[in-house]
């Protein structure tokens, strides 16, 4: 079976990503995009975050996005408060531009949310359907990663990897990317970040989503107190979502600076052109 294991291929192309990994990667891109955009729409129905067992617990919110009228002229001003510090965020948070370019109240800009205009019921329908796409795809990926040894072979850092973390950080900061044999493997930072995303952040997002369900809270009564209560779970869910966005931004940045077309081809056809070793000076 040609897809079973990455191998050296003719024409200087290295077979990097197996077909199941490529398919599951792109399903994940779609699912996470929909989950994030519909999640922002859902957040907009109550654009505040609290830590604790309820949102009315006598303490001010950790984050609050809102709108107020300017003292002069009465124009709408977007206001974002984070732990008591207040920022004017007109155009981005609290007051955003609608389809006609007019400033209107809204937590996040319509181009970021699904649906674009306020529609909580539809956002929930998207969110809970694509949650299944995401979870089933994720479970299939984990099963495949273990069974195919993708996890052990490609993702688990070796002792040598871990010893080279310092060098890897320096190389990344200088935009020096591996070539030759080393470019066929994930580098140590890549491995650690992928493992953290796959086995920590993504499962945590799911768990905190489940924690918001009043019905599932009764599966083991009081279990949401493990993270400080239901509203803490909602806040963690939101923070994890943005950490995932941060990961995607860095990931896409790395994809671009290490060769956009080569990387995209590798994730579509599986074939990756290995950068040649630099000639010795």
């Amino acid at each position: 079976m040609p897809d079973a294991m990455p191998t050296a291929a003719a024409g200087g192309l290295h077979y990097r990503h197996t077909l199941p990994v490529r398919i599951m990667h792109w399903i994940n891109v779609v699912a996470l995009t929909v989950l994030f955009a519909s999640g922002l729409q859902i957040f907009g129905a109550y654009p505040e975050l609290h830590f604790g067992r309820s949102s009315y617990n006598g303490r001010p919110p950790a984050l609050a996005i809102g709108a107020r009228e300017a003292a002069e002229g009465g124009a709408l001003v977007g206001v974002t408060r984070v732990f008591g510090a207040e920022f004017e965020t007109t155009g981005w948070l609290g007051v955003v531009r609608d389809g006609d370019g007019d400033l209107v109240p809204g937590a996040f800009p319509p181009w970021m949310t699904l649906p674009g205009t306020q529609w909580l019921a539809m956002a929930r329908a998207w969110h809970f359907f694509f949650a299944w796409v995401f979870v089933l795809n994720g479970l299939a990926y984990m099963a495949y990663a273990v069974a195919s040894r993708h996890l052990a072979r490609d993702l688990a850092p070796t002792r040598a990897d871990l010893a080279g973390i310092g060098a890897a950080v320096r190389d990344h900061l200088r935009f020096r990317h591996p070539r030759g044999e080393a470019a066929k493997r994930y580098n140590v930072l890549q491995k650690l970040v992928y493992l953290a995303v796959i086995f920590v952040l993504l499962p945590l997002a799911v768990l905190m989503g489940l924690a918001m369900s009043p019905w599932l809270d009764s599966a083991l009564t009081g279990w949401v107190d493990v993270v400080g209560g239901r509203q803490s779970a909602r806040s963690i869910h939101f923070i994890v979502a943005w950490l995932l966005v941060a990961f995607v931004l860095v990931h896409v940045f790395q994809v671009i600076v290490t060769g956009l077309c080569n990387n995209l081809r590798a994730m579509i056809t599986g074939r990756y052109r290995v950068p040649t070793e630099p000639s010795h000076e």
């Binding site: 674009g116 299944w132 009764s218 009081g222």
Partner: protein, 254 residues
């Protein structure tokens, strides 16, 4: 390689692609068929949740966990002459009609409801919007009331009719429905007290449902009638509740 223009082209292309993608999703949301596809997840979610937690108890809290103020959402004061008359008289003339598929239909005054087996619980109210608040509730156990009126074979849902009109012209009275699993759950009560005082008008006086493992819109306020039915397709929009008729899930456990 001219990489700077290429990167700005890529950024523009990515932004345009994302905008086009979300616009396409919005068009799908407005089709007849696509929301039905999305809705396929609902019965799966309900079935799995009931498998994992069939009759588990909602978390109950200490007095100190109670919210300083309990937020009023939706109707704050029902705009109807009947309701104003009841309210003016301290709900002395109010009666809860219980009927439909039951052996012994009857009406309960507020005083009679207060005589039924009661339960007191400090629970968290989770609104579909994302906020939550904690309060202490005391009310008649719905299970006890059902035992008194004896549901007939074939009755599957408890429909709750409410006094608050949702439309400005006084129509579209709020209503809700729950199944018998929830109706007989020990924490499902017809609450008449909140935080040791009679339920305020803003929170559903004189009676509101507490169905603790579901979202706030299931907790019907200003309840005036209870009907046992085999199905609710013939009632209002046919989806089993005011918000359900407007696209929200009937099973609101998530």
């Amino acid at each position: 390689m001219n990489s700077a223009p290429r990167r700005s082209f890529l950024a523009t292309a990515a932004a345009a692609a994302s905008a086009a993608l979300l616009a396409g999703c919005d068009r799908l949301s407005r089709t007849e068929w696509f929301p039905k596809v999305l809705g396929a997840a609902e019965p799966v979610n309900e079935a799995i949740a009931k498998l994992v937690a069939r009759s588990g108890l909602a978390q109950e809290f200490a007095e100190g966990d109670r919210s300083p103020t309990f937020r009023s959402n939706g109707t704050r004061e029902p705009d109807s002459d009947q309701y104003r008359a009841w309210s003016a008289n301290g709900f002395a003339d109010y009666a809860l009609a219980v009927g439909g598929m039951v052996e012994a239909p009857r009406a309960y005054s507020l005083a009679e409801l207060r005589m039924l087996p009661a339960r007191t619980q400090i629970t968290r109210h989770d609104c579909v919007e994302g906020w939550s608040a904690i309060a202490k509730w005391k009310g008649a156990r719905l299970a006890g009331l059902l035992d008194a009126v004896r549901p007939r074979t074939g009755a599957r849902y408890v429909v709750l009719y409410c006094a608050d009109p949702m439309a400005d012209d006084g129509t579209d009275l709020y209503y809700e429905s729950i199944d018998l699993l929830d109706a007989y759950h020990p924490q499902t009560i017809l609450a008449y007290d909140m935080n040791d005082a009679p339920l305020p008008v803003a929170n559903g006086a004189p009676i509101r449902l507490r169905v603790e493992r579901q979202l706030g819109y299931k907790h019907a306020k200003y309840v005036t009638g209870i009907e046992l039915v085999a199905d609710f397709a013939h009632i209002a929009g046919g989806k089993g509740g005011y918000w359900e008729d407007r696209g929200y899930q009937w099973w609101a456990g998530i």
